[in-house]
Symmetry: C2
Subunit: 110 residues, 2 copies
């Protein structure tokens, strides 16, 4: 995988995933990936799981997260940790953006 030190945000493409969700991969290499995920109010990140470990940091807006069957409402400055293969999802209560960090890289996103 190509190794770069700098990833200007304007060089990355904001991808419309439909149903009020857009995604921009901001930086990545073999072991780490950072992704902006933009949600409109009412948009849903459906329950899913993957072997990657993940932190989500809420930059703006408000979200109801479900992780391993546990629900919690989070706002800007709050974070979640998803252990490998745990089932998780989110419902956007107020439009906003969160950052997803994965280890290893989500090669399925590239």
């Amino acid at each position: 995988m190509e190794l770069k030190n700098f990833f200007p945000g304007d060089d990355q493409k904001l991808e419309d995933l439909g149903d009020g969700v857009k995604r921009k991969i901001t930086a990545f290499h073999d072991n780490l990936m950072c992704v902006e995920v933009h949600f409109e109010k009412g948009a849903v990140g459906a329950l899913h799981s993957h072997p990657h470990e993940q932190i989500s940091y809420i930059v703006s807006g408000e979200f109801e997260f479900t992780i391993g069957g546990e629900k919690k409402i989070l706002k800007a400055g709050d974070s979640t940790l998803k252990q490998p293969d745990i089932e998780h999802g989110a419902l956007c209560l107020k439009a906003g953006m969160l950052l997803d960090f994965f280890t290893p890289c989500r090669e399925d996103f590239l």
Copy 2:
């Protein structure tokens, strides 16, 4: 290491590191850690290195980064990737906050 799904930001302590830099650990487990770093204008993250791989995402402000001898000015929405053991540092040009993501966890921060 204790495993939690949710890390409300208000529960985490903003630590004053002096010289215009404050740090809040937002979420972590063995393989991942997310840290807010708040800089006043003119504050410096001195050149250093560590075996952890790192992504920095700029949430606000403007920074001159030096990574492996390469310099670049970055603003909100830009990211950097630091490979293990590469020498890196930053100078804050406009007050702001960045998020540092590490793999594995920076146990020296705990």
